[in-house]
Symmetry: C2
Subunit: 253 residues, 2 copies
């Protein structure tokens, strides 16, 4: 039996953003494991078993995938975006490290994908065109104090910032506190992008000054990008372009 | 005449990492503009004009592409990786903002791609699986003091870090200084990944403790990823897995 496991990034939603590498591995799989809406993106076919599971069971899902691969199945763990950015790859390796030694002999691959911040950035212009950071605003797995510390340091470093999981029903208040903190540090004029469900029919982009940002502009399907002090808006009749210049030198580059 | 301009990410090198969206836009183009090795990845065909240009002429290249689109051509600016991450998108918008007003009426799109750090992270495991930052180590367009400031703050925030453009012939010393600074802040045991030319026949991955990292392990085709304090190595006969757990809570999650 030659089982294997591939953790594959399906990108932000549009099938035209799925890499040929990922499409090819899905065609070879016997089993697809993943969160319900991601597994729903895979076309059923004879010989392919779909294993959709609920949110917040990442370690169980990872152990299930590893068990199937160890039984000789060809398993794809379907992840949205890129599996290595606030998605399934880390959970899989946590389960691997804690699991039976023979799991370490498995053929395991991670196949990259278009992560939400890159899809959002492309749609808006190039707000991540200079140094930036990516922060998961969920406080399920880290204390809120650490999130605030990172926001303060990221402002001091003058990074553009991409925020994943800004808001959920279980955590309605944290994002409002993050916006208040960022306003106190960056002022009201800094542009901020709310990019919801980019590349899907529900896509919605809003660029507002930080002073006008409200927590309810984000939900679980939104990635948020805050500009650095040098991020610029180009006004156009076609809609604004948000971008961060390459240079951090003062005066003409 | 209905010219347009698309800034398209070709990914790290392997054609299986080029999105179908990018492949489709190239098929519609009349002109490809870009740095020589990226334009060389596009198959010539009747009706397609290739415009390869040298490195370090990004603004001239951007203005050329905008001029062609304004003349009614269908122009693809070929970028490696993702065009919005230390690549051509910001240069294009700098040229647009500084250029004639009628350029703002052009149909301009950015098509995302697999950026080097995500390809490298996937190959090594999931070192960017928790909060992280991306820093361009070239000091062409920013003072070295700002790079050092950002490194210090990124360590204090305990971000994993991806470094683009770590070293070039024109800047042989900066990366060695960066490594010295990082060793003084993080100690010798922190794992660091050197990922060269990922997904190409020249691919080379090295994971070493920071104390054993040497500047000459990197060149212009290398992206470097430094783990956070929580990044782990899983030893395996198949080669180690480098990953950062999702949790930053102490004790059992």
């Amino acid at each position: 039996m030659n089982g294997w496991l591939a953790i594959a990034g399906l990108g932000p939603g549009d099938d035209r953003l799925v890499t040929p590498e990922v499409t090819a591995i899905i065609a070879q799989a016997t089993d697809i494991v993943g969160y319900i809406p991601y597994v729903a993106r895979i076309a059923p076919r004879a010989g392919l078993t779909l294993h959709p599971s609920d949110n917040r069971v990442e370690l169980d899902r990872a152990a299930h995938a590893l068990t199937l691969a160890a039984q000789g199945r060809r398993v794809v763990v379907a992840s949205s975006g890129d599996p290595g950015v606030f998605a399934m790859a880390s959970a899989l390796f946590e389960a691997l490290e804690a699991g039976p030694a023979h799991w370490r002999d498995l053929d395991i691959r991670v196949l990259p994908g278009i992560t939400a911040m890159l899809a959002a950035s492309a749609r808006a212009g190039a707000p991540l065109g200079h140094d930036f950071c990516a922060i998961n605003l969920s406080d399920n797995l880290k204390p809120w104090s650490l999130i605030e510390k990172r926001l303060r340091l990221a402002v001091e470093a003058d990074f553009a910032m991409a925020f994943y999981n800004p808001r959920s029903k279980a955590r309605p208040d944290g994002f409002a506190r993050a916006l208040d903190l960022l306003r106190s540090l960056c002022g009201d004029d800094r542009p901020i992008l709310f990019a919801r469900a980019v590349s899907t029919p529900q896509e919605l982009l809003q660029i507002v000054p930080l002073g006008a940002a409200r927590a309810d502009m984000a939900d679980m399907r939104t990635v948020v990008i805050l500009g650095s002090s040098r991020t610029r808006l180009i006004a156009r009749s076609r809609g604004p372009i948000l971008y961060t210049p390459r240079s951090a030198l003062d005066g003409p580059a």
